[in-house]
Symmetry: C2
Subunit: 197 residues, 2 copies
Amino acid sequence: MATTKDIRPRGRPRRFDPNQGIAVAQRLFHARGYDAVSVADLTDALGINPPSLYSAYGSKAELFARTLRHYTETQGVPLGEILRPGRPVAEALSAVLEDAANKYTAHPGSGGCLAIEGTRCNDVDARNAARNLTSAARDVIYRFVAETHPDLADVLADYTVTVMSGLSAMAREGVGRDRILGTASLAAAAYRETLSV
Amino acid sequence: MATTKDIRPRGRPRRFDPNQGIAVAQRLFHARGYDAVSVADLTDALGINPPSLYSAYGSKAELFARTLRHYTETQGVPLGEILRPGRPVAEALSAVLEDAANKYTAHPGSGGCLAIEGTRCNDVDARNAARNLTSAARDVIYRFVAETHPDLADVLADYTVTVMSGLSAMAREGVGRDRILGTASLAAAAYRETLSV
DNA sequence: TATCTTTTGTAGTCGCCACTATAAAATGCC
DNA sequence: GGCATTTTATAGTGGCGACTACAAAAGATA
């Protein structure tokens, strides 16, 4: 079979695959956080030299932005699937928290949500990239709730984002999956109490 | 009146009051976070030179630890007062969240809890100082709940700490007091649902 | 006034940070 | 083989981080 990969470009061939590099960078960023990962850490882990990293990704912050995109597409909470229009709100939002609890504790060394944790870093560009994703997530939750409960959409979206942020923080502090799942389950009680007719 | 302040020590007198310095440092740390405040920022704000800061506080991390102590004593959520033994658990924990929502949005430029936010910084000593305080807070909540509901103490303490962490994050992101208070109020619904007979 | 003590201001230290200038190496194309 | 193109590796850059060596200054004590 003749894939596009077989069409070699003209110059000297790359010694590393930029797409695989994103997976490696994701592990580092997720385990230590954006600020605590240096460009030297990244180039060491990738087995390349700084100029290769900059020619492939542009900057550390741009690499982080691409890492975030890959993360939300492959490992983030699939809000679009969970929040299907028509699904009971309390049930759907509870499922979001439960999935978050599972995802945030999926990998041993790196707890929490890469995007949520990224909003607290000290680099403007990296922080904005993370904020864009978390605010997009809030919008999805808001619109889902607004379909059936317009007056509650804001407070329910705020509450859900707040709990997710808290769960991410707990996971990052090393709290185990059972306790995080228990917390998510208890948090879901607020949905039932608020949405009960 | 002859206060202890009138007894001058022997050497050259200090040009600044280390106690007032802690208040100045607190404003900086709270507004920008530990990592984003440099020693140069601190010495500029205090109107002193680096050697004076180091002779007075030892290090940046020790100054932060003293700042944290002062913060929890004067501006933190007074768990000891709110969680009086015998007070209904749902009511008491709701009051904790409401007080946190108010405190975290008290100062315009600096949102969130200094201790909670401090647990995410990249300096080991500063982070541990912050962690000691947040884990002590969890212990107080746990013991209060355990008096009347031993089986629920762990999950209620986890949930309360999780929500407080989330509220702090929202405040730090610039969300206004009304929304944060609304979120705290909604979070309290989980207490009622869980503790209702 | 001379001495002792403590803090001050000047002027650095060294290390790590993100990032880059430059030229050689490795390919395709003609 | 020779040329164009692209990535590579070497070896840096300047800037900012926490922190400090040192001597002068400012007071109490004798």
